[in-house]
């Protein structure tokens, strides 16, 4: 019941991440995990334990992630996982929000001369098993009445290997994952991501049913990052802004200089400050891991703040 107590007692957060998707979750040369999803884990650790490095990362595949979460092996899962009805209800998980609005795309070698997914009749498609994309793929080809040959695969790295070797013509997964994978190719320019996005893939962190307090903590840790960007709180200025109450009451409440929201979720007042200080706000995390300046080069698109015409919209801190 009390995941929070467990985590505190353990002094570490067990966080499920992908086995390796560049930019989202991958260990760097010195073995530290880095990436956009990893940042969510670190944020929660910063909020709960005050230490963004107090995380035990558990690499999971599309297939193993849910059992890892359900069995309690991990406290939360931050692994480009799509929020769906059945996962939320039938699989008994709580999605606490969306950290990346995505959709399923296709990547093919340029040499094939394919310009639309509808032209893929008879193609061999690499697909990660146990994912929504596997089901979407089946639906897409059935609806369009064309055939394909699925090659089931466990991890992104394997998919990449098979795709590059030509064992499949197409690789399909979340468009962000495709971009990330392509960015590591020697000749990225030889591969195109087709324009069709065949599904909605709202990706977000999730926790088990049955511990709402813990769900709240993860949910508001994510929201804190989003809100911080909206209000212009960055890792650079958070120290200064949290030193004393400022004139934006919402920011004050966020940073714990006014009211004590932290206490309501069983954390100390500086919880959000810790997040932003050690991890950064949503925008910073995005830019440093997957943004336009990185090899992955994703634009904000739907993931811009609502104020910029995107879908990101943190509920008020009140």
């Amino acid at each position: 019941a009390a995941t929070l107590d467990d985590v505190k007692a353990r002094g570490k957060l067990n966080c499920g991440v992908a086995t390796g998707v560049p930019g989202f979750a991958a260990p760097n040369a010195s073995g530290e995990w880095e990436g956009f999803d990893v940042a969510v884990c670190r944020a929660v650790a910063a909020a709960v334990l005050g230490d963004a490095t107090a995380v035990e990362f558990v690499p999971t595949t599309g297939k193993t992630r849910f059992t890892a979460l359900a069995s309690g092996e991990i406290d939360m899962l931050a692994r480009n996982t799509t929020w769906t009805f059945s996962r939320d209800t039938d699989l008994k998980f709580t999605f606490v929000g969306v950290n990346y609005y995505d959709g399923q795309g296709f990547m093919v070698p340029k040499a094939l001369g394919v310009s639309s997914a509808k032209e893929l009749d008879g193609a061999t498609v690499c697909i990660q098993t146990g994912t929504t994309t596997e089901l979407n793929l089946a639906d897409f080809f059935r609806v369009n009445n064309i055939s394909y040959e699925p090659v089931p695969i466990e991890t992104n790295a394997e998919a990449q290997q098979q795709y590059l070797a030509g064992a499949c013509d197409v690789y399909t997964t979340d468009a962000s994952g495709l971009a990330a994978t392509r960015s590591t190719f020697e000749n990225a320019a030889d591969h195109v991501i087709l324009p069709e996005i065949i599904s909605k893939e709202p990706l977000g962190p999730l926790v088990r049913h049955g511990d709402d307090e813990w769900g709240d903590i993860v949910r508001w840790s994510l929201n804190a990052m989003i809100a911080a960007e909206e209000y212009g709180v960055t890792s650079a200025n958070v120290g200064e802004m949290s030193a004393a109450a400022g004139d934006n009451p919402e920011v004050n409440r966020l940073l714990g200089t006014e009211d004590n929201l932290g206490a309501m979720i069983g954390l100390d007042a500086g919880w959000a400050k810790n997040i932003i200080m050690s991890v950064g706000n949503y925008g910073e995390v995005f830019e440093s891991n997957i943004g336009a300046a990185t090899p992955i080069g994703l634009s904000r698109g739907l993931n811009a703040q609502w104020t910029d015409g995107g879908l990101l919209y943190a509920p008020p801190f009140r």
């Binding site: 599309g62 297939k63 849910f66 059992t67 359900a70 039938d90 699989l91 008994k92 070698p109 040499a111 094939l112 893929l120 009749d121 008879g122 193609a123 061999t124 098993t129 146990g130 596997e134 089901l135 793929l137 089946a138 639906d139 080809f141 059935r142 394909y148 040959e149 699925p150 090659v151 089931p152 695969i153 466990e154 290997q161 098979q162 070797a165 030509g166 064992a167 499949c168 013509d169 088990r208 049913h209 049955g210």
Partner: protein, 422 residues
């Protein structure tokens, strides 16, 4: 002389539960049973409690829901709107397919290698020893992923066959395409096909059986019976006259002719694979996942079988060969009349347990994405439905049934061929 009174008809005392051999065994059994029941009860109550907290219920309803996912290799009709049960059935068939293929190849390879290891040719004996040690001492999973890597990394993709000056060409008179997705070989087609028989109506496990196939099987069986008849006749002639007629060509004919006739009657011809679009079309497609698994399992198991075969042959003392030789029997006859009948008794029991191991090892299919029972029922179905308990228990039950059937076969054989001893 001390008189002996009547035996003290001791009334039952509690201590007899522990000290009296008659009751003691009962006590132990009852304690064991209680312990076992407690354990089971403990597990069940935990499970119930855990399921209740996570809000799940145990039910097998999901089996009739649409699976939603596609499977690349299906021996019988399947699409993603079929039920999870059918998907599991497809997986089971795939498991059985690779198990049967693997056992057959492993046996052939194992026997050859085992015999060659005893070869008087030093070099070949050594090579086979290297083979056996190499495969026995490295995990089978490593061999499976290794085989898959070899296929993917060293063979050309279908796209290499494209263009005016393709980087790769088809083999064997342009009828076989070897690609890193798999191997395409000509497929048998029947211009006067007799259609299919549909079995099990509308149930989830329904499937079609090709009448053509049944006919061919019937012809093969007929051929075997015919060959046996010819052999029996040869036996009879030999018994009567002492001379054994040469019958190999008759037996060959009785094998081949019926099948040939059926094939011609059905209008048999081959369909050749041809590059069309992204892939080769037509032809029989052996996916690389199947090939890798099949190859690795057979090579690995063959190493063990080779050892069994070698041990079996060595177990027949050289005295048997010498005695048979001293009677004037030719080496071929010594093998077939004296050595083999004895060696088989030694070889077959461990051989069958190797079959059992191979079948169980076929569950490593998931490492290469071969959709067997572990890949479907205990893989994707488990994952998409979140029914860990149900799918795993069902899957284990199916494996258990397969294993127990194989061991039953082994026991039957053992009892049948036991050598008569004093």
């Amino acid at each position: 002389m001390a008189t002996v009174t009547d035996p003290p008809k001791a009334a039952f005392r509690l201590s007899m539960l522990i000290y009296d051999t008659r009751y003691r065994s009962m006590t132990i059994q009852v304690v064991a049973l209680i312990g076992f029941l407690l354990l089971v009860g403990f597990l069940i109550s935990n499970t119930a409690q855990n399921l209740a907290t996570s809000g799940k219920t145990v039910s097998f309803d999901f089996l009739s829901k649409p699976a939603g996912y596609d499977i690349n290799q299906t021996l019988i009709e399947y699409n993603n709107q079929n039920s999870h049960l059918r998907a599991a059935f497809i997986g089971l068939l795939n498991t059985l397919l690779v198990a049967v293929l693997g056992c057959a190849t492993a046996t052939v390879l194992g026997v050859i290698i085992g015999v060659l290891r005893l070869s008087p040719n030093w070099l070949i004996g050594r090579l086979m020893t290297v083979y056996v040690e190499m495969f026995r001492n490295v995990p089978v999973l490593l061999w499976i992923v290794f085989a898959m890597a070899v296929l993917i990394e060293t063979l050309p993709p279908p796209s290499a066959f494209r263009g005016d000056e393709p980087a790769a060409t088809m083999k064997v008179f342009d009828t076989v395409a070897i690609t890193n997705r798999g191997v395409y070989i000509p497929e048998p087609l029947f211009s006067r096909s007799l259609g299919d028989i549909h079995l099990f109506g509308q149930s989830a496990l329904n499937f079609d059986v090709s009448i053509d196939l049944l006919l061919i099987v019937a012809a093969v069986v007929g051929g075997i019976l015919g060959a046996r008849f010819i052999k029996r006749r040869a036996d009879r002639i030999q018994e009567a006259t002492g001379l054994r007629p040469t019958t190999w060509y008759l037996r060959l004919a009785s094998f081949v002719l019926p099948v040939l006739i059926v094939l011609i009657a059905l209008g048999f011809h081959l369909g050749y694979p041809a590059l069309q679009g992204f892939n080769f079309q037509d032809g029989t497609y052996l996916r690389n996942s199947l090939i890798a698994l099949w190859l690795a399992l057979s090579l690995y198991t063959a190493a063990f079988i080779a050892e069994n075969v070698r041990a079996g042959i060595l177990a027949i003392s050289s005295g048997q060969t010498e005695a048979a030789g001293a009677l004037g029997l030719r080496p071929k006859r010594i093998m077939s009349l004296v050595i083999l009948p004895q060696a088989l008794r030694v070889i077959i029991p461990p051989l069958i347990s190797q079959y059992l191991n191979l079948t169980k090892n076929s569950s490593l299919a998931i490492a290469v994405g071969y959709m067997d029972l572990t890949g479907t029922l205990m893989g994707i179905t488990l994952n998409q439905t979140g029914k860990e308990l149900e799918t795993l228990l069902l899957g284990m039950l199916i494996y258990l049934i397969i294993s127990l059937s194989i061991s039953a076969l082994m026991n039957w054989y053992n009892n049948r061929v036991k050598l008569v001893e004093r």
